[in-house]
């Protein structure tokens, strides 16, 4: 069995699904508890933004953003290849 003091490193991300604004986020960790894929972990220091440990596993559901009580603290970044084109209608 593995050692009980397991060391982890955030997986190198091909994509960064979630970013935090440390100025706004107060580390309440609600986003961690609502994430059904469990990709976030609490910051070792209380009051700081969570860490994205498994970025590739994000389902991009947005529940983390929806539950956040501090607007702007957390951003869901849609992968660039999924950005959809729109244009102004010519009248």
């Amino acid at each position: 069995m593995k050692d009980k003091r397991t060391i982890v490193t955030p997986e190198p991300a091909a994509f960064n699904p979630i970013t935090f604004n440390a100025e706004i986020c107060d580390g309440c960790n609600r986003c961690i508890e609502v994430c059904q894929v469990d990709i976030l972990i609490p910051h070792p220091e209380k009051g700081k933004p969570p860490q994205v440990l498994f970025p590739g596993e994000c389902w991009y559901g947005g529940c983390c953003v929806a539950i956040c009580p501090k607007p702007g603290a957390i951003t869901l970044n849609i992968p660039l290849m999924n950005r959809v084109y729109w244009k102004e209608k010519e009248i």
Partner: protein
């Protein structure tokens, strides 16, 4: 970061690999999504002790946990002009019989009851703020908003982002014990034997690694359908498919090992959705489902014509929401058949090839500016906003980027509701795929074991998950009240414990993503669009080799990775089930999207039936059932549910 350049840190949760927790419940619900929560609520209301085991977070877990824009088949709502019988038989006929008559009748018969329950729990199901007052899809008395067929009014537009937290709170209010971040890993059976009564389950916590033994008189399987069988992205595993990445067919895999009987597992369709291979669901312009019936224009701004089932061009937008002359009703939304059946075929835009022949130029764009205000707001703001993953990733993200539905044209990237093209071998269990075969109690072939939602064969949609969840939960509760006490076979539980922890015992080996990719690519090669005895048998042989050799090298470094590794083992089991089922049907079938090059004739005489498959003494046993094995829908329903009918009347 500067003090810790590798950004490494200790695992944030206590590690309890050496701990075992025993939990006792009357009814155990495996999977806390839509079906699971409804099963728990129904069972708890029967006064029995209920526990939910959920791999994610019950408050939002499941494919419909983040939202739901429309509630299909609410045939008993006061505005409906279609009976549950007419609607169910239409759904069966539209799929040429390959449908779950029992579960869809339950959906049609009880779906509306569940909506009313949801409202009492705090879910929003009507336009109480009169935002859509005067709209032709609104009933002014009930304030219900309808979708698709405005004449017959059996599908409601709803505010589904409010649903899952309401269900979660109701579970808690009723005293349901919720075990979040806990993966159910196996079923425990009487005497540890296959094909016997179910007496419990095992689980593992994905944060602490703690092992669980759940003892229960009845279990309801609510763990959705398998994904990542053919489609897997190691870079973006979370959006390999449509459903959440943790829907890995855990329930199918544990059921299979216990001896549960499945049907239609040979059915897979060419990929329709994957965030990695196409765009996120409902994020691009189209005319289907959430976007029904949005106007579209071509590259030069010419409006794309809509036609009725006869090909007659519709002259106004309102006609897109009405049956054709002489037609009683039509089927649209998630339950729309893959191959249109004239009787139930609704309005649509002309096929793309026909449009190109007529001189329309690609690309096409959704043009919300052409829609009447109420329709525009119903699509953009209500349905795009309340459906699945549309609230934050589409509605709010696009608004933030400056998208204005009154000014902009949103590009379409695929035919129908798709937003990309897939290769023939890139397949999915989608639409109405296979699953567990059920009786009129939604019981499996094993005593004490029930199933609901997408774990049932030929299942889909939020309302179906809710209705079948509630139904299975109350029948499981009734069974648990008269069932004898059970005993766990500790040898079976401890064997499972040893299996679970084995990836943790290796420091080096194969990671879960590499093994998933191996299986998915193999399935593309040996169980793609064209199937044959030789391909399928070779595929099975290779899967066996993976199980005996490569999978033995699976490694994990923490409880989270351990759960991911166990999931891939379930994907492997599901791949085996699919290959066995594909071997068992020695005939091609149009409606099952099933092509055997060695049996090329579609649906030949004698093969219009369910082929069933299960393990018996660890050998694959196949069987068959007539497509109408469920008998009269109304009569059987009423004979099995007299208590429920009395309760509802009160």
């Amino acid at each position: 970061m500067k003090d810790n350049p590798c950004n490494c840190r200790e695992w944030p949760y206590p590690l309890l690999y050496d701990k075992t927790k025993e939990v006792i419940a009357d009814v155990l619900i495996l999977g806390g999504g839509i079906a699971g929560c409804w099963a728990a609520i129904a069972a708890a209301k029967k006064g029995v002790k209920v526990a939910i085991v959920e791999k994610g977070a019950t408050i939002r877990s499941g494919a419909g946990g983040s939202g739901c824009d429309h509630w299909e088949s609410a045939a008993t709502n006061p505005c409906s002009r279609i009976s549950p019988e007419d609607l169910s038989y239409a759904m069966i006929e539209a799929h040429n019989g390959y449908n779950n008559g029992i579960s869809h009748y339950i959906e049609c018969r009880e779906g509306y009851d569940r909506l009313l329950d949801l409202e009492k729990m705090g879910g929003k199901i009507r336009d109480s703020e009169n935002e859509f007052k005067g709209a032709e899809f609104r009933d002014e008395k009930t304030k219900f908003l309808f979708a698709y067929d405005y004449k017959n009014r059996f599908t409601l537009r709803v505010w589904g982002t409010t649903f899952k937290p309401a269900l979660y709170n109701e579970c808690r209010r009723l005293g349901v014990a919720i075990f979040d971040r806990t993966m159910a890993t196996s079923l425990l059976t009487e005497g540890g034997e296959q094909s016997t009564r179910i007496v419990g389950a095992t689980g593992i916590n994905s944060r602490t690694g703690e092992f669980f033994i759940f003892k229960a008189k009845a279990i309801v399987l609510c763990m959705s359908r398998p994904t990542r069988i053919w489609l897997f992205s190691p870079g973006l595993p979370g959006i390999s498919e449509f459903r959440p990445p943790q829907c890995t067919g855990d329930g199918h895999a544990m059921g299979w090992k216990a001896g549960v009987e499945f049907t239609m597992m040979e059915k897979s369709v060419r990929g329709e959705w994957s965030g990695e291979r196409s765009f996120p669901p409902y994020a691009t312009g189209n005319t289907h489902n959430t976007w029904y019936a949005c106007s579209m224009v071509d590259a030069e701004g010419r409006e794309i014509p809509w036609a009725d089932r006869e090909g007659r061009i519709l002259t106004n937008i309102s006609q897109r929401y009405r049956p054709a002359t002489g037609q009683k009703f039509f089927l649209k939304g998630g339950g729309e058949p893959d191959f249109p059946v004239y009787k139930y075929q609704g309005p649509d835009i002309l096929p793309v090839q026909e449009l190109l022949n007529k001189g329309f130029k690609l690309p096409f764009y959704a043009d919300l500016t052409r829609m009447p205000e109420h329709e525009r707001k119903a699509i953009w703001g209500l349905m795009v906003g309340e459906e699945g993953k549309t609230n934050i990733p589409v509605l709010k993200a696009y608004i933030n980027e400056g998208f204005d539905p009154e000014k902009h044209l949103l590009q379409s990237y695929g035919e129908g509701w798709r937003s990309g093209a897939f290769l023939p071998q890139e397949r999915q269990l989608f639409g109405l795929p296979g699953g567990i075969i059920n009786d009129w109690r939604l019981r499996t072939n094993l005593e004490g074991l029930y199933a609901a939602g997408d774990q049932l064969f030929a299942s889909n949609c939020h309302g179906h998950a809710a209705a079948t969840g509630h139904y299975a939960g109350r029948h499981a509760a009734e069974y648990s009240k008269r069932a004898f006490e059970t005993r766990i076979d500790m040898h079976q539980a401890l064997e499972e414990r040893s299996r679970i922890y084995s990836p943790l015992k290796k420091n080096e080996g194969i990671g879960w993503k590499e093994l998933n990719m191996r299986i998915s690519r193999l399935m593309q090669h040996y169980c793609g669009e064209i199937k044959s005895e030789e391909l399928l048998k070779t595929g099975l042989g290779l899967l066996k080799k993976i199980r005996n050799e490569e999978a033995q090298e699976l490694t994990a470094h923490n409880p989270h990775e351990m759960v991911r590794a166990l999931e891939v083992m379930n994907i492997l089991t599901n791949a085996e089930i699919i290959l066995h089922a594909s071997l068992a049907r020695k005939a091609s079938s149009k409606h099952l999207h099933f092509y055997r090059s060695d049996y090329p004739e579609n649906d030949p005489l004698g093969w219009h039936k369910f082929v069933t498959i299960k393990l018996e003494k660890n050998e694959v046993a196949t069987g068959e059932k007539p497509l109408d094995y469920y008998g009269s829908l109304k009569d059987n329903y009423e004979s099995y549910n007299s208590n429920y009918m009395k309760e509802q009347q009160q």
